[in-house]
């Protein structure tokens, strides 16, 4: 039956499902950020919106943002300024092409899945750079350039950490990586603990989240590249940020936490439980990110670069050497 559906219709359906799922999960994450962040600071956070626990707060915020005036500054480079939020969101959504959400549920199981993943996940920084450059504002420009510098510094440990995972699994395909973890019943977070830590820290920097939110830095750059954005485009950036958390959570879950796989479940059960298991793992990673955000203060630009070049990259290289040696010896 599925074979008879025209390709274009099927594609549209998949895109709509992924978009809707991403946005809903991103909204849930925004709520989680507000609520968990509040409780970490001994506050209660959203309370009234939607009746209980302020569950409708992100929706109310979105409705408020949509009512705002849609401004494009005179000094801005119009087309680039308008395009930037969508470039950012497109990068995070494109990640889900290769993420397997079940044993046979994957949009396109690319042979070079891990490579594709790293390529598209840095697209969102391009959107940030576009926003910073086109705003015609010095704060935005500094924020955008900082994001670029951060990308160059943290893309390297990110890639090197994934290299170790690929050596361990023996494949670049993400389904293959999940199968390799299922085959040994051991998520890669255990043998690749160094790589996991390096990847987590680097992904925080990639997502511009505290303690690496220097491109935003509201206290010194008045929100950096977001300074000139308002209304719908700001909403897109905001959603893109949290959608980025979802996609980065999915990447970490797939590479290190076993993806849709859970111990003790047959492959038939995984067909149905797979997406839920992946979602739970995404939320675990997202909670970790939120926890880190509300714990640490923002670091300085030179410290940011020092952490990447002096610590994460040597650690990741060391990790590769160990993984490769063990792979050959064992």
């Amino acid at each position: 039956m599925i074979e008879n559906v025209p390709f274009a219709l099927m594609l549209t359906f998949k895109v709509v499902v992924v978009l809707a799922a991403m946005l809903v999960v991103a909204l849930v994450l925004i709520w989680g950020e507000l609520k968990w962040g509040a409780h970490i600071q001994a506050r209660v956070g959203p309370w009234y919106a939607g009746g209980r626990w302020g569950w409708a707060q992100p929706l109310a915020d979105a409705v408020k943002f949509l009512q705002k005036e849609d401004l494009v500054p005179t000094a801005a480079d119009g087309p680039v300024f308008r395009l930037a939020p969508y470039v950012m969101i497109a990068g995070t959504l494109a990640v889900f092409v290769v993420i397997p959400i079940g044993p046979s549920l994957v949009a396109r199981d690319l042979d070079i899945g891990a490579f594709y993943l790293l390529a598209v996940s840095s697209l969102s920084t391009l959107g940030v750079l576009m926003a910073g450059w086109s705003s015609g504002n010095k704060y935005s420009l500094i924020g955008g350039v900082r994001a670029g510098a951060q990308l160059i510094a943290y893309e390297l440990p990110l890639v090197l950490a994934v290299v170790a995972v690929v050596i361990e699994a023996g494949t670049l395909s993400l389904s293959g990586i999940v199968n390799a973890q299922a085959a040994t019943s051991l998520p890669f977070v255990v043998p690749q603990i160094i790589g996991f830590v390096v990847f987590l820290v680097a992904s925080l920097a990639e997502l511009n989240r505290t303690p690496f939110d220097l491109p935003l830095a509201e206290s010194e750059l008045t929100m950096g590249y977001l300074t000139e954005y308002s209304g719908l485009r700001f909403t897109m950036f905001f959603l893109g940020e949290y959608a980025g958390m979802v996609s980065m959570g999915a990447i970490i879950a797939t590479l290190y936490l076993g993806g849709y796989w859970a111990p003790g479940l047959s492959s038939d059960a995984l067909k149905f439980a797979g997406p839920v298991i992946l979602l739970v793992k995404i939320f675990v990673v997202a909670f970790l990110m939120i926890w880190i955000r509300w714990t640490y203060p923002r670091i300085r630009e030179d410290q940011l670069q020092a952490i990447a070049w002096k610590w994460l990259i040597p650690l990741a290289l060391f990790n590769i050497v160990i993984t490769a040696t063990l792979k050959v010896v064992l």
């Binding site: 509040a38 409780h39 600071q41 001994a42 506050r43 209660v44 309370w47 926890w291 714990t295």
Partner: protein, 153 residues
């Protein structure tokens, strides 16, 4: 004692996760009301009997939010042929709480103790112009002024 590297990072995470499961300290305001400290600077109350319309508070106010108008009334002497004295009768004593920055200089500077701090804080308005409170309102707030602390022996 051996100091593990990066131990501080984990200590920080431990503090935040403990706080996450602690009861929030938020006072749910309209339902639950917090009692302010007895000498809280909520609002400035006026005792008209003590006021001599000397205008010191008006002149010292950094953002000029106090308005005083007064006229002189003649007080005839109790002895026949005595000199007629005059005293100031307060017509208007307004404080614009839209401008007031709660520095308390007027309370400090008042030589006759006509101005007091009151812990009353619920006087929000929907319009900024409604925050201009007149003499009657300021005198009402005098009821909420706490007793001064006892003198030290």
């Amino acid at each position: 004692m051996v100091k593990f590297p990066l131990i501080g990072l984990f200590k920080g995470l431990w503090v935040t996760i403990k706080t996450l499961f602690r009861k929030p300290v938020t006072v749910m305001y309209p339902d639950v009301k917090e009692t302010p400290a007895p000498r809280a600077r909520g609002v400035i109350a006026l005792d008209t009997d003590n006021c001599t319309s000397c205008m010191l508070c008006v002149r010292e106010c950094p953002d000029w939010c106090i308005y005083i108008e007064a006229h002189k009334v003649a007080i005839p002497s109790d002895k026949p042929g005595g000199r007629v004295r005059t005293r100031n009768e307060l017509d208007r004593f307004d404080i614009d709480y839209g401008l007031c920055m709660y520095c308390g200089i007027c309370v400090e500077v008042c030589p006759f103790d006509a101005l007091y701090w009151s812990p009353e804080y619920e006087y929000g308005e929907y319009k900024i112009s409604d925050l201009l409170h007149d003499k009657d309102k300021l005198v009402e707030w005098l009821q909420t002024v706490p007793e001064p602390p006892a003198l030290e022996k």
